[in-house]
Symmetry: none
Subunit: 214 residues, 2 copies
């Protein structure tokens, strides 16, 4: 069952939204401010949060990165009555996945929720690569260089990659490309160009996270 957290200080609206969500067969919990919400998120995993931007105490804009930090995989839909393009951009830059302008139709809300839950589920099933595969992919210097190069460069053809990495024996690169393909980090398009899959992108981001943090 999909778990949803509704963060809004307006009692009526919060209750209404929760009733609608439960009618739609989703499980929804209320939180009347951001701090309570963060506590709930600490204890329990949610698939998605609906977050009001304007609240007493910690406001929504501030809360976004805190929620992101606490629950990196949880979808965040920002809601606001005072909308502007600048505000929307800021919310997205801080990590919101969508941004709804009040008053919205229930249909619009449900559409956004359904889409975000589905994308999350898609990424989830793409995540079935286990930690072991990840480390299998990352456990070799050349493979890490390939990942980083493709992360920076995007689509690249085989020999260009070989030359960029300054490897004399191209079959060596081939061997490691095969490993990366088997692990699901890279793929080839119709023109035989290599690029990262999204799980490969995430792996490359992990690499940069590690190199930053070690």
């Amino acid at each position: 069952m999909e778990q949803i957290l509704v963060i809004d200080d307006d009692d009526d609206l919060r209750t209404t939204i929760i009733e609608v969500l439960e009618q739609e067969g989703l499980t929804a919990h209320p939180a009347e401010n951001a701090d309570l919400a963060l506590n709930l998120l600490k204890k329990h995993p949610y698939h998605l949060v609906l977050l009001d931007m304007v609240m007493p105490g910690t406001d929504g804009m501030t809360a976004i990165p805190l929620i992101r930090q606490q629950a990196p995989r949880t979808r965040i839909i920002a809601m606001t009555a005072f909308s502007s393009a600048e505000n929307a951009v800021q919310a997205m830059q801080r990590g919101a996945d969508d941004y709804l302008v009040k008053p919205f139709k229930i249909d619009a809300l449900m559409l956004s929720i359904r889409q975000n839950l589905q994308e999350a589920r898609f990424q989830e099933c793409h995540k079935d690569t286990d930690m072991d595969d990840v480390f299998q992919g990352l456990s070799n210097v050349l493979r890490r260089q390939i990942l980083i190069f493709l992360h920076r460069q995007g689509m690249t053809r085989f020999m260009d990659l070989v030359r960029a990495l300054e490897v004399e024996d191209h079959t060596k690169v081939n061997f490691h490309l095969k490993v990366l393909r088997e692990v699901g980090f890279i793929e080839q398009n119709a023109h035989k160009q290599y690029s990262l899959t999204n799980s490969g992108e995430r792996a490359a981001e992990c690499l940069s996270f590690i190199s930053k943090n070690i």
Copy 2:
């Protein structure tokens, strides 16, 4: 020198922006439509593109993911005269890094450019400090289990660790402890209890980061 690509069908605006950027000491190239821009991006790496949303031919909104795919690390600043929150959200969801509403002050443009270039540069510093040791330490299931256990548990004696991990042969654990010690992730105190060093703590945090994000 920072390379910038200005994509706009309005000749006057394009020229003006390029002049300003060059006065600021940046290198800027023009492209009057999205297809020309994609060709330029294929040939040459840019740090940042300024992208008009409304153009004949491939429009800006369509171009964003294409640019993203061709040049994943290039910053994209979307520009539009017809702004709405919905439009801004869509641009960000497709991969824009910022979204400016025309007419904008030159100062606002330069601020966004400077910020984006700086963040990009920050992410760039990928210095391959001995990542090899790190991965040496993390490249084995049992070693990862040991790290995670010590991260949760703190100081632990040898046989307690062996039993907690349910390994039948204690010398196996010993072997991996030795590796972890050589890499500098763990240490022993006077009572022969094992615990994480601070670099070991950081490694364990990387592990949990990875398991959250993959």
